[in-house]
Subunit: 126 residues, 2 copies
DNA sequence: CGGGATCCTATGGGATACTG
DNA sequence: CAGTATCCCATAGGATCCCG
């Protein structure tokens, strides 16, 4: 381990609230550009890799990594169909399905915010 | 209509859906390590800069930038009190207050997920 | 089809020092 | 008190090539 990494570990005495605070914990799952979008698309049902790829304009490698993360975190299940040609589907697990509550809230607020953006056209948001 | 034209229409070539899709739009606001946490702390009422600093173990510069972002995006309002010593408070705007719906959903799911993590101890999540 | 491996860049975020 | 400025690094994510 190099010096910098060692220092970071040593200094990490600060309380990491992952697994303790629901907001910190959720944040670590929601971080990144694609998690919410993937979860959103899978919320309606299982999808194959290339189908996800087509729905979200994302690089293959990136999608692959993100799906592995979500699988590791327990939100997504990867299913390989044994019949015929290679066919893989991704679907939400139980805890992944529960996330739809968050997705619904995000959708509602997102629409409110889009409306807000239009009515405050002068302000340079983003 | 010929086939190629139909396909070009159907396939949204790299369009940025910010301001169009509520999920993409929300994601751009929620991205980053601190936005959700800041919003959560401000949801209960206005807070001063150093008070936020104390509640979340974050670097000053980082907090400053994040607050500027949220202010720019219209979720947070910065209030400078003119009396006596320098005193600044941050509070949620109307559209920021509406975000509490998302925060509530996140809190609920976060707690479910924490429970899920405990009952699946063998899996190395994160 | 469904990826993995590799390389590269952009940027988020921490540490530190300084300021009105 | 409430920042700003600067430097630096770790990581996310895109592009490209390759594979079973």
């Amino acid at each position: 381990m190099d010096t910098q990494a060692a220092q970071r570990v040593a200094h990490d005495g600060g309380a990491d609230l992952f697994g303790v605070c629901p907001f910190v914990t959720s944040q670590s799952v929601l971080q990144g550009k694609w998690a919410i979008l993937i979860l959103h698309h899978l919320a309606e049902g299982p999808l194959r890799f290339n189908e996800l790829l087509r729905r979200m304009d994302v690089a293959q490698g990136t999608l692959s990594k993100q799906l592995k993360n979500l699988e590791h975190e327990g939100l997504v299940r990867r299913i390989v169909h044994a019949d015929g040609p290679l066919r893989v589907e991704y679907e939400l697990t139980d805890i992944g399905l529960k996330f739809r509550g968050v997705l619904d809230a995000i959708e509602a607020w997102g629409n409110d915010y889009i409306e807000f953006l239009r009515t405050h056209d002068g302000d340079d948001v983003r």
